[in-house]
């Protein structure tokens, strides 16, 4: 089976600092892949590269057969019509109602008539248990509702790939569990390939077919839930068992952090 | 706010703004929309010091035209001033054109005084009778020197 997403030797920098280093990853059709990592592990950066929002220093990212690092803006936009992205906070536009937010991609990219657009948007909102909320403004919704509305918008074009950033962050356990169910349902009923970025263990173990763990810009391990659970990699176990990191202290870096001076510059 | 009010409001705003621009351009910028029909005559002066193109032409204190062009006649060392006057103002051939000052530091303008002739000036004709700009310095020095002689 051909991979839907194929990342080869991805290296990225922020200024002089290397953020991601030698990432190799493939995502198969109809699979739910969870990218895990603590904060500062580079997982948000990785997601932004997968979405084509940033250009890497080197390496390739093939999505649906096209290397997005070399696409023109026009080609990239064409590809993105087959991709849905649900952002952490929903990223709904504050000046539009919830309904208009969900309708926006249809209005921009299709020539459907007004009624069809409205019905399709309502269907997706219904799927997210948000029926009747379409005339509200985003500021009137709770965090969990915003996330679900954002998901509805990501799905309204029936994408082949769905990216979901931190589905359960900041939600109470019940709502988080509902979202996990929803993600599973999407894969099962619509046959989507889903990439989820999260730091929540519980949710990752529940939904993932495979998990990949990022730590300090490198992929530590990629495998099924059981494989990852069973690994004896220390960093992964630290993450799973909520153990604090015990980094070897770099004397210079430590001094730098404390004094704020650049020792290398002086 | 519903869409109708937004549209009305924007429409009102745009119309008001454009009306302002139109007023400025026509009334002050003299873009010829309301410009009355004119004819032009010329007049010779020994000095037009301070008079500018676009300056006012008055008759009995009423504005009747403007200074169109000022050129030097190199042969006679005289200034030839072309005036453009409103069509409805008829000037006798022996009318007098004089250059005056509004206030002490005010703008120079051309003052016309009617004559008594039966002949009416037409497009391109010349006003023969003129009084040049009075220079205050000359006036003052003349007064002082004449006083000396006595």
């Amino acid at each position: 089976m051909d991979a839907v997403i194929q990342v080869t030797d991805l290296v990225t920098h922020y200024g002089q600092r290397r953020i991601l280093d030698g990432i190799e990853l493939s995502v198969l059709p109809r699979e739910i892949l969870v990218i895990m990592g603590g904060s500062g592990s580079g997982k948000s950066t990785f997601l932004r590269h997968l979405l084509g929002l940033k250009k890497p220093s080197s390496g390739t990212i093939r999505i649906l057969g096209q290397d997005i690092t070399g696409l023109s803006r026009k080609q990239l936009y064409a590809l993105r019509k087959q991709i849905g992205v649900a952002f952490q906070g929903g990223a709904l536009f504050g000046s539009l109602t919830v309904g208009e937010n969900v309708e926006l991609p249809l209005r921009e990219h299709t020539r459907l008539d007004e009624d069809t657009i409205r019905i399709m948007a309502r269907m997706k909102l219904e799927m997210m248990n948000l029926s009747g909320f379409d005339t509200l403004m985003p500021s009137e919704l709770s965090g969990g509702m915003l996330k679900r509305a954002g998901l509805a918008r990501a799905l309204v074009m029936d994408p082949r790939i769905l990216f979901f950033d931190e589905p359960s962050a900041g939600l109470d356990p019940v709502v988080a569990a509902e979202l996990d169910e929803l993600i599973l349902k999407l894969r099962d009923t619509l046959g989507m390939t889903i990439v989820v970025v999260t730091h929540e263990l519980e949710s990752a173990f529940k939904i993932a077919d495979r998990i990949t763990v990022l730590d300090q810009g490198r992929l530590v391990i990629t495998g099924t839930v059981d494989e990852v659970r069973a690994t004896d990699n220390e960093r992964v176990q630290d993450l799973f068992n909520r153990r604090p990191r015990n980094d070897a202290v770099d004397r210079d870096a430590y001094l730098h952090r404390l004094t704020g001076y650049r020792h290398d510059a002086l | 706010m519903n869409r109708l009010t937004i549209e009305t409001y924007v429409g009102l705003f745009v119309v008001a703004g454009l009306a302002g621009m139109f007023f400025l351009a026509t009334k002050m910028g003299n873009v010829g929309v309301f410009e009355p029909e004119t004819y032009s005559v010329s007049a010779r002066f020994t000095s037009v010091s301070g008079l500018k193109e676009g300056g006012v032409v008055e008759l009995a204190g009423v504005r009747v035209g403007k200074v169109q062009k000022i050129v030097l006649d190199p042969a006679a060392y005289e200034a030839v001033v072309h005036l453009s006057l409103n069509k409805n103002v008829e000037l006798q051939e022996d009318s007098v054109a004089s250059i005056r000052t509004a206030g002490i530091i005010g703008d120079r303008y051309v003052k016309l005084s009617p004559g008594g002739s039966d002949l009416i000036l037409e497009e391109g004709d010349e006003i023969i009778e003129t009084e040049s700009a009075i220079s205050i310095e000359e006036l003052v020095s003349k007064y002082i020197f004449e006083g000396d002689k006595e």
Partner: protein, 262 residues
């Protein structure tokens, strides 16, 4: 010493970087505004926001500016016995300088700050990334209508400012101080030339572009601010920056245009 040089180099690099970014931003926004399909609805909404909703403030500001101008000029001119020049003085000062500049400053305060914080919030809440990911070009969807609306609205507001300013000047000069009404308006019509009007509106066009350009770019590049700007505090700081930079740019541009056109 080396430290000072290091900082100087660092900040000049930052300046060049920011200038380049702003220029590319403007070019891309103009390019996407020029290509169809045009977003008439969005443009209408922006002209409403930047223009129509500033009209009331402009009218009040313009009226008082005209009044104080007339007051000051009257006091000066009366010493030279040239009160008949009052109308010309008020109109010229209004048309050439005060109306374009003050209108731009009012628009910066009312609409520019709102544009900057709106776009800044969109950036910090990933809404701009969301647009990108929905294959909707934020330059076309978000920025082009604002830019075009700025270029349309500011000259219209300037025109209102001039008109109401002249009324204010008339009120003080003619009604309060008894200057002859005919002298006031005749003088004004005679002295003001098309060139003066052209200068005023050239300024207001450029200011309109400048105001929306700077404030929206500051918000748009919130995430690239050198000292890191995130969340509500970041947005408010960037908005303050944007207002200051836009105001100063308007005043600098005012001098440059005057020097070139006079």
């Amino acid at each position: 010493m080396i430290n000072v040089l290091h900082r100087l180099g660092d900040s000049s690099l930052g300046f060049v970087e920011q200038a380049g970014r702003l220029l590319l931003f403007l070019l891309r926004a103009i390019a996407s505004a020029a290509r169809p399909p045009y977003r008439w609805q969005a443009l209408l909404r922006q002209v409403h926001f930047i223009g129509a909703r500033s009209a009331l403030v402009i009218l009040v500001a313009g009226f008082f500016t005209g009044m104080v101008l007339s007051l000051q000029f009257y006091d000066t001119l009366v010493r030279f016995g040239s009160v008949s020049l009052l109308g010309s003085a008020v109109a010229l000062a209004m048309i050439r300088e005060l109306a374009p500049v003050l209108t731009a400053l009012v628009v910066i305060g009312r609409a520019g700050s709102a544009i900057c914080s709106e776009i800044g919030i969109m950036r910090s809440q990933e809404q701009i990334d969301a647009l990108e990911c929905m294959a909707v070009d934020p330059y076309r969807y978000l920025l082009a209508p604002k830019l075009v609306a700025g270029v349309i609205s500011v000259p219209l507001l300037t025109s209102l400012f001039i008109m109401i300013g002249i009324v204010g000047g008339w009120f003080v000069g003619v009604v309060l101080f008894g200057v002859s009404e005919a002298a006031f308006f005749q003088g004004m019509y005679e002295t003001v030339t098309l060139h003066d009007i052209r200068m005023g509106f050239t300024k207001s066009l450029i200011f309109g572009l400048l105001v929306v350009w700077i404030t929206s770019a500051k918000g748009f590049f919130l995430h690239l601010e050198r000292y890191g700007a995130h969340g509500a505090e970041g947005v408010s700081r960037v908005t303050t920056d944007a207002v200051v930079i836009a105001s100063i740019s308007v005043l600098c541009a005012d001098y440059l245009i005057s020097a070139i056109m006079l």
